[in-house]
Symmetry: C2
């Protein structure tokens, strides 16, 4: 990048950082936990929410912000849960920005919430680089993607507060080396808790819901 480009990129990141700080402040004031789900297209982020929310709603008041390049299909999948769900359409942009997330957060009934899930745009690279004011990023990886992804896309696993391995019901049908995958995650981030989940078969969802319920906002 040329000097001017670097300067403008830094300015964008600085402005984004300021919006993220504003969001974080609002969430602290209302004691709301915000989790930012990041993973490839089709890794099962929405299915994970469909499985987790009924469990979490027994104890916590939840809302969801859905981020997508196009369509409101993911928000529609969650509408029967009877909770606030907003769809942010990025119109081609590959990640959620901090300013638009701030706007969407401010429009939620913050006084009546304990937990906000943000489902970022399906993308293992770009959303990782942008702080949107979340308490933690959750790295979502489906076992169908192969055990080497933590090494090939290490930044997300380095920055995440937890990793979620999804679609484990498919393991008998895949050439996926589970032990190697856990080793690779550990190589990139030795302290990262890993949850192994099948949203369809409701395996492992209770353990992850308990971890989220007990999460202490830092």
């Amino acid at each position: 990048m040329k000097k001017t480009e670097i300067k403008i990129y830094k300015e964008i990141l600085k402005a984004e950082g300021e919006w993220a700080a504003k969001t974080r402040e609002s969430l602290r004031k209302h004691n709301i936990l915000m989790l930012n789900l990041i993973g490839s297209p089709g890794c099962g982020k929405t299915a994970l929410l469909e499985a987790l929310l009924p469990l979490l709603l027994k104890k916590l008041r939840c809302a969801v912000l859905e981020g997508d390049v196009e369509t409101a299909r993911d928000a529609e999948r969650l509408k029967d849960l009877g909770i606030p769900v907003s769809q942010i359409i990025t119109q081609g942009t590959c990640h959620l920005g901090a300013q638009i997330v701030n706007k969407a957060v401010q429009e939620l009934p913050l006084a009546d919430l304990d937990l906000i899930f943000v489902e970022n745009v399906g993308n293992l690279v770009c959303p990782t680089e942008f702080d949107i004011g979340e308490a933690a990023k959750l790295a979502v990886l489906s076992v169908t993607e192969g055990e080497d992804k933590p090494l090939k896309y290490p930044l997300l696993f380095r920055k995440a507060g937890a990793a979620v391995l999804t679609k484990i019901d498919l393991l008998p049908h895949l050439p996926f080396d589970r032990v190697k995958c856990l080793e690779f995650i550990s190589q990139v981030n030795g302290r990262l808790p890993v949850f192994e989940i099948s949203a369809l078969k409701e395996q492992g969802t209770l353990t992850l819901a308990d971890w989220i319920s007990a999460f202490e906002i830092g």
Copy 2:
């Protein structure tokens, strides 16, 4: 984006376009077909190459450019084929740029090649926006990602020369609606040929190899 940002973005795209044109000119001169594989992380792009190349090498002289954020793992998977394979590591960048691809293409033995595969960075969004001098983009979508992806990430399916549905051996174990997926692809791009493949079980690979062999550079 502010005015200055838009100006610089346009400048970057213009410079990229010039590099893509240079690459295209070199490839035309040597009558080489270059195909740009785009799909999510773990959708099976490298496995597709592992299955296709032994078939294509019977008729065509091939090379591969591997694009990754980090590691040379994909290039290593292909090294036993005895063909030129270069790994481009983008160091965090979410797509292959036209300039670095031009450099990598120029370093290949162009007089001895008929076909170059570029495996782009695993990402369904960003690589789509950048012309790297290819004759056609191949949209690679694994059936594990769900049938709605052509609607959620339409730009790639609009721009592609063909779509490849991978991992079809997993269909009996997935809640994937094949007919709907084909309908969604057709809604986005009614003229797009679709190839249904299992690289592991070598299903459909011969048909795709024939299509590639018969491809007329426009």
